[in-house]
């Protein structure tokens, strides 16, 4: 019957643009602004080497005489003008922000990826197997939730420093940071995935796969995982904002990335030392960037949560 008025099958892109999520996105100005700001900062960070006017990590290009140049004013010794001024070592603040956001975002994405892989794996196993494995994993998660995540990250960071020989500390610092933040955030993923897995595993499509003797790992990865990813994506988006802030906090406290490779948090730590001497721009611009990034990613996560949950509309 429907052959007569059969429309041509829409392509993948057309279907994506036609989906509920896309519609909800177009209808939400906040989501559009948040997505634009996030995307702008992410793109600027990714293409930092091509966008930045200076390479702030190459000491050969730095001139200490350029130090403390205010924004949009020529330096009193060299006459160079910088959009957002320079810091104490004569590094262009705009360039350090671009490179700093690059490190912050790298740490944020990697920490979220690490927490996701760990949390999803443990959550799937706990939810599917149940029994003592479930109890054990969830008690570990409960205990971990009683510690503030920053405290936990500090602990992991401190322990890792004790194990790594001093020669590798600077190179390893960023990876230790990623593991520390990731380990302090996996619990959320594990809990959500465990709950969703327990719902999915009792559904008949999973039983149908069990009847033909499909391997449990295959059932978990191919059947259950795609059906529990919705809520995980929401947590991951908000988790990215949290991870970026956690990284900034740790770097601000001086336990994060070394100052030779400053992230946004490191830049803020450097900048706050000069605030009371009147050199406000060194602190203000990295702080604003961090604020804009964390806020827009967070708003995007909030919107995604509402858009994926039809009951909240």
């Amino acid at each position: 019957m429907s052959d007569i008025i059969k429309k041509p099958e829409p392509g993948r892109v057309a279907r994506a643009l036609d989906s509920d999520i896309a519609y909800s996105f177009r209808k939400s100005p906040l989501a559009i602004v948040a997505a634009s700001v996030s995307l702008l900062i992410i793109l600027a960070a990714v293409f930092a080497p091509w966008i930045a006017p200076h390479d702030p990590f190459n000491p050969a290009t730095l001139n200490l005489m350029d130090g403390f140049t205010p924004p949009m004013e020529p330096n009193q010794f060299t006459g160079n003008t910088y959009w957002l001024g320079t810091d104490n070592q004569g590094r262009d603040v705009f360039s350090t922000i671009l490179y700093g956001a690059r490190i912050s975002l790298f740490v944020g994405f990697m920490a979220v990826a690490f927490a996701m892989v760990l949390g999803i794996t443990l959550g799937l196993i706990a939810g599917y197997r149940g029994g003592w494995i479930d109890s054990l994993l969830m008690r570990v998660a409960d205990v971990q939730l009683t510690f503030p995540s920053i405290l936990l990250a500090l602990l992991i960071f401190g322990v890792a420093r004790g194990f790594i020989p001093p020669a590798y500390r600077e190179a390893m610092a960023i990876w230790v940071l990623i593991v520390a933040i990731g380990l302090s955030e996996w619990v959320q993923y594990a809990r959500v995935v465990r709950g969703a897995t327990m719902v999915e595993k009792s559904k008949e499509y999973v039983q149908a796969a069990r009847v033909i003797g499909a391997h449990p790992a295959k059932i978990l990865i191919r059947h259950i995982l795609p059906n529990v990813m919705g809520p995980v994506l929401v947590i991951a988006t908000i988790g990215l904002a949290l991870a970026i802030i956690a990284e900034a906090t740790l770097s601000f406290l001086g336990v994060g990335v070394p100052s030779t490779q400053p992230s946004l948090g490191t830049l803020i730590r450097i900048g706050q030392g000069f605030l009371f001497s009147g050199d406000w721009w060194i602190l203000l611009f990295p702080s604003l960037t961090l604020l804009a990034l964390a806020l827009s990613v967070n708003l995007l996560g909030d919107w995604l949560r509402d858009a994926l949950n039809p009951r909240l509309r």
């Binding site: 499509y205 039983q207 033909i212 003797g213």
Partner: protein, 334 residues
């Protein structure tokens, strides 16, 4: 004579419904078990449809799940084509698993919403490694045709289909491993009445074409009458009567069977006298003593309250009721 494809002996399943250990110690309670299936035995011959009927909570689905290995029996033996099923042994079961399949009750839950129909139907083929490459898509197209859908539907997702069409997809998936035996767990109870007959007729056509053997689980007597050759009536996890379909409907031996038949609405307004179903199925954690049906039985005798009846042979099967032993004693025959 047709040979036996599936035989079940003394199949029992108890669920542990005890409170946690600490509660039991403090409240001085014993462990509690729910007996969903109590030494159920039956045989299904090749090519026939055997139906299990019963009210909610009578253990129909539990038995179906034990037969396909979704639940482990507490006791009892399941033999498929003479081989004992041991679901713990992976390698030995692999060849056996291909030969039986299951069709589920809810076609909205039995198809993975994230998979395309192609992949859903091909899953058993891929899992058992029956075909490879382009052969798989040809076979999937043929199966879709077979169940009354078009081969082009394979690229769609399950949510693009109605309940009846989804059940057709589920049937195509069940057929894809070329099984001999299919367990159908209430295959039409989630469907509109208008679609039920279509699905049932499709299942019968497929049975004729491929010589399939069905175990049909249902609470709907009209479905069972339409489909089954032989029927087993379950009450509280026990098989109270087994008989050939026609015989069961015309001459029920067990009072419970009679009660079930009388409960069917009489659309023909034949004016026959009906006995309404009285009472509810008792709590299976604390089943009544003796014959578990005695609190609801209109013909209850003293012996029923103390002694559980054994299976007495009837014209085409067996029935577990003390009335039959009396008849046998009075008439001197069996």
């Amino acid at each position: 004579m047709a040979d036996v494809l599936l035989s079940v002996e003394g199949l029992t399943r108890r669920f542990d419904v005890s409170k946690p250990w600490l509660n039991r110690v403090i409240e001085r309670e014993e462990r509690q078990f729910l007996t969903a299936s109590e030494s159920v035995s039956f045989e299904i011959k090749r090519g026939e449809t055997f139906a299990l009927v019963g009210e909610s909570g009578s253990g129909k689905s539990t038995i179906a799940k034990m037969i396909v290995g979704l639940l482990e029996p507490s006791a009892g033996v399941i033999k498929f084509d003479g081989q004992e099923m041991d679901f713990a042994s992976g390698a030995a079961m692999r060849t056996l698993r291909r030969r039986f399949q299951m069709i589920f009750q809810d076609p909205f839950a039995s198809l993975n919403p994230r998979w395309r129909v192609d992949d859903i139907i091909a899953e058993p083929i891929r899992t058992f490694g029956l075909l490879r490459g382009a052969e798989i898509s040809n076979e999937v197209g043929r199966l879709l045709d077979l169940v009354g859908l078009s081969a082009a539907d394979g690229t769609k997702f399950p949510h693009e289909f109605s309940g009846g069409q989804r059940q057709r997809i589920a049937i195509a998936r069940a057929l894809s491993s070329k099984p001999e035996f299919i367990v159908c767990d209430e295959p039409t109870s989630a469907l509109d009445v208008s679609v039920q007959a279509q699905i049932l007729n499709l299942m019968r056509d497929l049975q004729d074409e491929f010589g399939l053997t069905y175990l049909l689980i249902s609470h709907d007597l009209s479905v069972v009458r339409h489909m089954a050759n032989r029927i087993g009536v379950l009450y509280l996890g026990r098989l109270v009567e087994v008989a050939e379909s026609k015989r069961l409907f015309t001459d029920p031996q067990h009072p419970y069977t009679r009660m079930l038949l009388d409960a069917v609405p009489d659309l023909a307004l034949s004016g026959r006298r009906r006995m309404p179903v009285t009472g509810e199925i008792p709590n299976p954690i604390n089943p009544p003593s003796g014959c578990t049906f005695h609190p609801r039985c209109p013909k209850v005798m003293d012996i029923c309250k103390t002694q559980n009846p054994r299976d007495f042979p009837t014209a085409t099967g067996t029935a577990a009721c003390h009335l039959l032993s009396q008849e046998a004693a009075v008439s001197g025959t069996d």
